[in-house]
């Protein structure tokens, strides 16, 4: 990945409020929102169609949780950048997400600035 490319962002969260908020407040010039999924299963289906290069991923979701989805997305695309955004605030959860292939971890609740800083770190 280089800094001049436009990243295609897929947002994965079971909360509509959070999905819309991430879409609304992310304002980095190198990132284009391409879609949103409500759980891991939907995210895998949308990955096939939309080919995102960057994903924000909740962990606690119905049908397929974020941890399993991170592992399966990285298996499909080792270059994909995944920012896990979760309320699960213990260190082991963050470590587990990174070991599954996530590139970063942001704890809920978050400010608009914290979200953009976390996304910026991923693409730099």
């Amino acid at each position: 990945m280089n800094e001049t490319m436009t990243h295609r962002l897929l947002v994965v969260d079971d909360s509509n409020v959070i999905r819309r908020r991430i879409e609304r407040v992310q304002d980095l010039p190198g990132i284009q929102f391409v879609g949103a999924a409500r759980n891991g299963r939907e995210a895998l289906e949308m990955h096939e169609k939309l080919r995102p290069t960057i994903v924000t991923m909740d962990l606690t979701m119905p049908e397929m949780d974020g941890g399993e989805c991170v592992a399966r997305l990285v298996e499909r695309d080792p270059d994909i950048l995944i920012l896990v955004i979760s309320a699960l605030a213990d260190k082991l959860t963050a470590i587990d997400a990174i070991e599954k292939g996530a590139s970063g971890f942001l704890c809920k609740p978050f400010t608009d600035r914290q979200l953009n800083n976390a996304l910026r770190k991923l693409i730099e």
């Binding site: 509509n16 959070i18 819309r20 606690t60 119905p62 605030a89 213990d90 609740p109 400010t111």
Partner: protein, 149 residues
């Protein structure tokens, strides 16, 4: 709930949530033991089941008007019933999930369940008492109820 420090984990979570998400501080009143087996609930209630290291339920209950203003503070324009349910569930999820920082990795939380209406009831684990944390934000009153054995 065993100690004051455990209650404070949730109080700190509430203060952090409001300060961060809607960027206006909330105040928590003195937590108290619910006298009734079924504490009073408000218009919208988000519930999280806890399992693993602890067993129980955590729920956040708030009036519709408060949730609408919170959405506005988040620049959200959709004030539909579905979005209010979504928000109250997400708040319960966030406050419960944040507690893992202190309760540990085995403090497992469910996806949120949401009930609408003040006449709804919430089930508690047997042989437990609920601790009610009153929340004041702007002119609104909400409650976080924590019931863990």
């Amino acid at each position: 709930m065993k100690t004051e420090s455990e209650v404070n984990v949730f109080v700190d979570g509430v203060l952090n949530y409001f300060g961060t998400t809607v960027q206006q501080v909330a105040e928590c009143g003195t937590p108290y033991l619910a006298l009734s087996r079924t504490p009073e609930i408000s218009d919208y209630t988000g519930m999280i089941r806890i399992s693993g290291k602890r067993d129980g339920v955590v729920f956040f209950t708030a009036p519709k008007s408060m949730l609408c203003v919170m959405l506005m503070r988040m620049q959200e324009t959709d004030m539909s019933h579905d979005n209010l349910c979504d928000l109250v569930g997400e708040i319960a999820n966030t406050l419960s999930g944040n507690a893992r920082r202190d309760f540990g990795h085995q403090f497992n939380i469910s996806v949120p369940a949401v009930v609408h209406g003040r006449n709804s009831t919430v089930d508690y684990p047997p042989n437990t008492r609920a601790i009610v944390i009153p929340i004041e934000w702007r002119t609104y009153h909400a409650r976080l109820v924590v019931c863990l054995n």
